[in-house]
Symmetry: C2
Subunit: 331 residues, 2 copies
């Protein structure tokens, strides 16, 4: 397997990208890596030469504040666009970037395109849940602002495939994000989608409320990209707020003593809510494996994203999705 | 001032409704109360007779699992419908219920109706923020599943009025819930709404991401009812999950000792995230003051809702909204 990594994307690039790759080199003997970016800069961070790493030199970087579509079209010598070109040519089996989400999506759509039969790809991250060690997949969380019901149908089918491989769940429970659990609830979109999804050959758990997303009871949560983005960022923001409050509770002399006594457990909570320890979001429905790692990714995140890419490649997720979309074709 | 309370609505009714009223009786000398519900049951919970409390006997109760519209139309002798009838007749200046949200909204729309010029009322609760003691108003969080941009414009105007009175902020910052802060971001609805809201005579802070809702930087967050519901319940669910995790960290011998050392501060965090201590959500835009208190309201919540109703009545919020809607009329 060959993975191309945008070495210049993310808050701590290229160091953490390279560190993540070196960690993966030791664990996986059958993956070769291509790094795109400024060769001189990258070489400065390489701990040693390695025959399984090649560098493709390019001079530009796409920043977070640029218009994604314009950047993808015009910055042809950027680390991200060059990575997409390598993926497109078939010189790599997967792409990983911690760069701009918008540009990653624009590149996925403009350079790579959809799996045959998929109406729209969706951005599908993992979220932590109340059950330790269990994750939930949220799709879509930002790729499609205005969805049609057929998009949600495809998110449900693809999410189910993805959960089987990535979470190792045999018969993943797929829930439709809504304002209440009753069948007739919601907006025009969810009402229409509900009627279509319930006919699919998947384990449909019906409507779920947003508070159930991270309950651990559901494996895949399906929604339009606007609502998914709202849910994701509400969960992240609340997590950060309370963790800060808890941290502040341990200030002062007594607080510090208390902190020492429960340090390990508190760290576990922080780690759980820290998206850095969870592998990246998959652009689910594209005809290649594309993983968007968190902007503030650390080496462990990049390693986790590489591990995830390998799992998806080994299981041939792209063929599986194509097959499932065909079987479940909505009339 | 006269307030009618649905004495039978909510998980702990009628006891906590009555307790809340008795607390308010002591604090406010100029409010009379009307309780609707089973007189015999209510009298069983009354600590003493009081000339400022009158009871209107009715035999039915609207349950959470009933169809709201059907229930409001058919259960004419229910505590909620009777309360709405009293409000409609003008025999009370405000209505408070901890009963079914759906039925409260249905009653508000069918029995009471909108303020002149308001396209749609929205459900507007308070949420806690990262800044201690500061609250944020979220509108709409469930009354309107499919919104037009004019609805969001009215939410912005009404939310600004409401924040001035309820939060005591002179020039409330109003943010539009979106997936990014840039002007062109979002779905068709938010793009259209942005262009209209920026022309209003309010302190518009532009787009905000969901993680900023509870940052404390914004006073009013405007969104469609579906997204608002997703945000509200994501925040609630995450809060509960982490607080449970923190609780579990204090199990065992060392944990219990640690807990004693920081008990007070941890309780403050729990209280902050406990919606029971925050007064109810206003059905903002109706031609009467209608407050929906949390289903699991305690006496303190009911008291807070009474206090809130008095504040809104004293400031004549309904006239203020009517005026502001007229001034800001969108062409």
């Amino acid at each position: 397997m060959k993975i191309v990594l945008d070495a210049m994307g993310g808050d701590y690039a290229p160091k953490i990208i390279i560190d993540g790759v070196f960690k993966a080199l030791k664990k996986f003997e059958d993956i070769d890596f291509i790094l795109t970016g400024n060769e001189k800069v990258i070489k400065g961070f390489l701990p040693e030469d390695n025959s399984r790493i090649s560098i493709i030199d390019c001079k530009e970087i796409i920043e977070n504040n640029e218009s994604p579509t314009v950047a993808i079209k015009e910055k042809k010598d950027s680390s991200l666009v060059v990575a997409f070109d390598i993926l497109k040519k078939g010189d790599a089996d997967a792409l990983i970037t911690a760069g701009s989400t918008g540009a990653t999506l624009a590149g996925s759509f403009l350079k790579i395109g959809r799996i045959n039969g998929v109406s729209r790809p969706g951005l599908a991250p993992f979220l932590p849940t109340a059950i330790n060690g269990k994750k939930v997949i949220l799709i879509d969380c930002g790729a499609n602002m205005d969805c049609k019901s057929i998009n949600l149908v495809h998110f449900a089918i693809m999410g189910s495939c993805y959960a089987k491989i990535a979470l190792g769940v045999k018969n993943p429970k797929v829930g439709l994000l809504n304002v209440g659990v009753e069948e007739h609830k919601g907006n025009d979109l969810t009402k229409e989608a509900y009627d279509l999804i319930k006919k699919l050959n998947i384990n449909f758990a019906g409507n779920i409320e947003a508070r159930e997303i991270i309950s651990g009871e559901i494996d895949v949560v399906v929604c339009d990209g606007f609502s998914g983005n709202v849910a994701l960022k509400s969960i992240e923001g609340t997590g950060q707020m309370i963790i800060n409050d808890v941290k502040n509770a341990f200030k002062g002399f007594l607080g510090k003593i208390a902190g020492l006594l429960v340090l390990k457990k508190l760290k576990q909570i922080k780690t759980k809510m820290d998206y850095n320890y969870i592998s990246g979001a998959l652009v689910l429905g594209c005809s290649k494996i594309i993983i968007k790692s968190h902007g503030s990714s650390k080496a462990d995140t990049i390693f986790a994203s590489i591990e995830q890419a390998k799992k998806l490649f080994d299981a041939d997720i792209l063929s599986q999705i194509k097959e499932e979309i065909k079987i479940n074709e909505v009339q």
